[in-house]
C-alpha cells in the first residue's frame, strides 16, 4: 500500500461526502449541549463575562470588594458587648407611654398631670414676668418718653397701666 501523497479518491476529496443530518449532526448537537450547559450555569442572567468574574470571586473566597455594610456584615457590625453598651446608653424618655395620657394632661384640676409638666417657656405667667422685668428696667426712659410734648394719650395710658401693674 502506498502511503502519503494526494489521493483523489480519498474521503476528504469527495465533494458529495456530506453528512446526512447537515448542521444538526453530531457536531451541531455538541454545540447546542454546550450552550444549554452554559445557560444552566448562568441562572442570574448575567452576561458571560460578568458571570465568569463572579464565579472567580466566589471561588477565591473572601469579602466582595464593596463599601456596603450589607456585603460585609461581619466587618462592620459591633460585637455583642458593643451592642449591649449601645442599648444600655438609650434610656426611656418617660416610663409612661404618651398615647395613654388623657387629653387634659398638663391642666390643673383634671385627669392627668398638672401644669407643672408644661415647659416654663409656655407658661402664661412667664409673659407677665417678662413684661414686669422690661418695665422695671426701662421705666425711666418710658416715663421720660411719656413726658415728651406731643406724646399721644394712648402711650400715656399704656405707661400708666404698666406702672400700676408693677406696683
Amino acid at each position: 500500500m502506498v502511503s502519503g501523497g494526494f489521493r483523489p479518491e480519498a474521503e476528504q476529496n469527495n465533494p458529495f461526502s456530506v453528512s446526512g443530518t447537515g448542521g444538526n449532526g453530531q457536531s451541531g448537537k455538541f454545540v447546542a449541549e454546550k450552550a444549554a450547559k452554559a445557560a444552566q450555569l448562568r441562572p442570574s442572567g448575567f452576561t458571560q463575562g460578568m458571570n465568569t468574574a463572579i464565579s472567580q470571586q466566589i471561588s477565591e473566597g473572601g469579602n466582595v470588594a464593596t463599601t456596603a455594610n450589607a456585603a460585609n456584615p461581619a466587618s462592620k457590625l459591633p460585637s455583642g458587648e458593643g451592642i449591649a453598651q449601645l442599648l444600655g446608653a438609650i434610656e426611656p424618655l418617660d416610663s409612661e407611654p404618651q398615647e395613654f395620657r388623657p387629653i387634659t394632661d398638663g391642666i390643673d384640676g383634671y385627669s392627668g398631670r398638672g401644669s407643672e409638666v408644661i415647659p416654663r417657656s409656655l407658661n402664661p405667667n412667664n409673659r407677665q414676668i417678662e413684661n414686669v422685668d422690661l418695665i422695671k428696667r426701662y421705666l425711666p426712659d418710658l416715663l421720660n418718653a411719656a413726658r415728651i410734648p406731643g406724646a399721644p394719650d394712648s402711650y400715656k395710658r399704656m405707661i400708666n397701666s404698666l406702672m400700676r401693674e408693677i406696683m
Partner: protein, 68 residues
C-alpha cells in the same frame, strides 16, 4: 423735643396698644425693628392682628395728659 413719628416710642405706642398691654414684651421687641415707614409697620400690625392699628395719631397727641 417733640414726639416724632417712626421712632422707637412711636412704634411702642402702636404695638403696645394694638397687641394689648399683656403683650408688652413682644411689643417692645417689635418696636426695636427699624421699620422703613410707619405704613410698613401699620401694615404689619394689621396683618398679625387682623384689626386696624390702635394708638395715638399725631393729630391726637395731647401733651397735657399725664396721670403721674
Amino acid at each position: 423735643m417733640r414726639w416724632v413719628e417712626n421712632t422707637f416710642f412711636d412704634h411702642l405706642d402702636k404695638f403696645g396698644n394694638s397687641l394689648g398691654y399683656e403683650n408688652f414684651g413682644i411689643a417692645f421687641m417689635l418696636s426695636m425693628v427699624p421699620w422703613e415707614t410707619p405704613t410698613d409697620r401699620d401694615n404689619f400690625i394689621r396683618e398679625i392682628t387682623g384689626q386696624d392699628v390702635k394708638g395715638g395719631e399725631p393729630s391726637n397727641f395731647n401733651p397735657d395728659y399725664l396721670e403721674f
